[in-house]
């Protein structure tokens, strides 16, 4: 309870109101705290229906794609590709097959992260937000906590569902279990990676403040840059640089079978978190410095 209705604004009799000082001693009760700002951002996230839909669709696609890939790999769904019965995954990496939806889902959660902050700049809401929290950074942290927390829960569940259903579809002999070496790490890692991509979207959105520009940067970073680097960079540059790109650093801890072109799981996770930290620090500095 913060404000008593007796002192509220708009009393019908201003003279009576003027006679009794309206000031309730509620400054302490109404202090802005990080916890309250998190509550505020939680209301914001839930109260735009299209965002809820995006998050649910992202999780659903994660599962649907995994199951589709598993069906193709198991031969249940025929393809006319060059590898009959194998599909693009050749049934050698059961966890990767069932988690293949990550590639698409990461784009949706990245865009959601961008929108969560760039929208406030687009419609001017950011000024109401920063008027309420003039120190500003609690807003950035709250957005990160609320979105990453929601996505983590949703995407870990989606990842587990994709994996388990996928193994069921692949069938005995072609599948694996969560107990197998590195599998649980890859499944949970996928959930963490997707939550991290949401955070990446927030950071890029805060840096650019422009929805279209920030979405372009996120999509390019995740999809275009890794492929482009392979095409245009000299071979030795390519092998030195590309493992450190956010998407490849993510692959290092979301896949079970390692690769010469990837970092190890721990190294990949460290590099991925490093990206997020650098981008968030940049966003924090710019948010503090720029006029709203």
């Amino acid at each position: 309870m913060a404000i008593t209705s007796g002192s509220s604004i708009g009393t019908s009799n201003p003279r009576r109101a003027a006679a009794t000082p309206p000031r309730p001693s509620t400054t302490t009760q109404l202090a802005v705290t990080q916890r309250r700002v998190i509550g505020s951002e939680w209301i914001k996230l839930r109260s735009v229906r299209s965002w809820t839909i995006m998050a649910v669709v992202a999780a659903a696609l994660m599962i649907a794609f995994g199951e589709l890939a598993a069906s193709v790999a198991s031969g249940a769904v025929a393809t006319t590709g060059p590898r009959p019965g194998g599909g693009p995954f050749a049934a050698t990496d059961p966890p990767a097959i069932s988690l293949s939806g990550t590639t698409l889902t990461q784009l949706i959660v990245g865009v959601l992260g961008v929108l969560f902050i760039s929208n406030e700049y687009a419609n001017g809401m950011i000024r109401a937000t920063f008027a309420a929290v003039p120190r500003r950074l609690p807003v950035l942290w709250a957005k990160v906590i609320v979105l990453a927390g929601s996505l983590l829960v949703l995407m870990v569940v989606a990842g587990l569902a994709s994996f388990l259903l996928g193994q069921l579809i692949l069938g005995d002999g072609k599948n694996t279990t969560l107990a197998a070496d590195g599998v649980l790490r890859a499944v949970l890692g996928s959930g963490l990676y997707l939550a991290g991509i949401g955070v990446l979207g927030i950071a890029v959105g805060a840096l650019l403040r422009n929805t279209a520009g920030a979405i372009s940067v996120v999509v390019a970073t995740l999809l275009i840059v890794p492929g482009l680097a392979r095409l245009v960079l000299p071979e030795d540059w390519n092998t030195t640089i590309t493992p450190y790109l956010p998407s490849n650093a993510g692959s290092a801890f979301t896949s079970v079978t390692g690769s010469d072109t990837l970092l190890g799981p721990v190294g990949g996770a460290a590099v991925f978190v490093g990206w997020l930290v650098v981008l968030l620090v940049g966003a924090a500095v710019m948010i503090r410095r720029r006029d709203a």
């Binding site: 009393t11 109101a17 000082p21 109404l30 109260s47 735009v48 929290v133």
Partner: protein, 314 residues
Amino acid sequence: MIVIDHLSKRYGEQVAVDDLTFTVQPGVVTGFLGPNGAGKSTTMRMIIGLDRPDSGQVTVDGRRYAEHRAPIHEVGALLEAKAVHPARSARNHLRAIGATTGVTAKRVDEVLDLVGLTGAAGRRAGDFSLGMSQRLGIAGALLADPQILLFDEPVNGLDPEGILWVRGLLGDLAAQGRTVFVSSHLITELGAVAEQLMIIGRGRLIAEIPMSELGAGAAQRAVHVRSPQAEQLAVLIGADGVSVRTGADRDVIEITGLDSEAVGRRAAEAGIVLYELTPRTVSLEQAFMDLTREAVDYPAHPAAPSSRTDRSAA
């Protein structure tokens, strides 16, 4: 109390606020008047820390706005009406803002009721008319029961009933002992509510006067006289300590501080022939225009190139 101390802000080449100093006193409605582009919104943004001043500072009750523990409990601001996510309902919008500082859902419904939006509380704010958006903005300003209120052009987009309602609200708020600082580019909007006026142009303070004084100036009657002996009449009346203005036409004079009957009588006593004797009132708008003439950024009449850089007038 808001204390603005040598505040300056420029955006690139454009000077928005130029060495502004004044104090907004509690318990009255203070009007912030100036033509469009005079720096009113920029000043208000700097009061609540949205824009950082290049130099100078603003304090609210002795502290910078950002240093208050419960900022929107100190200062409630309506800066722009449509600053809402269009897909969010009015109620959720207010709940999100209020949640930062512990405002209850009950209080949100209270302010929605106060601004007359209870029926539309669950609707998408993007579907609101400008008038409804303005009411939602006012609700946001009142949300945490602040002692100081900033309203930037609050009656923009409101219908006549809404305008009356806002005026009544501003008066009520001041009567409760709150500090009310309200901007407008139209003197007529403020004439009915403001007791004190801060007039700015090109980012500088032009005048700081009580409304009653500007009103008195406006109420002052002028008498327009055309006479072949205008100069003789001017000397005669000027000797009585009355202000006489002569124009380009030697036969025409403007007399202020004497009514038309008195002017006619004095002329008759001196045997001066009058062709025209017309009483005139100066409107509030005219009084304001006279004060701000030199400081208008984009005058309707083309100004000499030098007038833009000539700041001595302000």
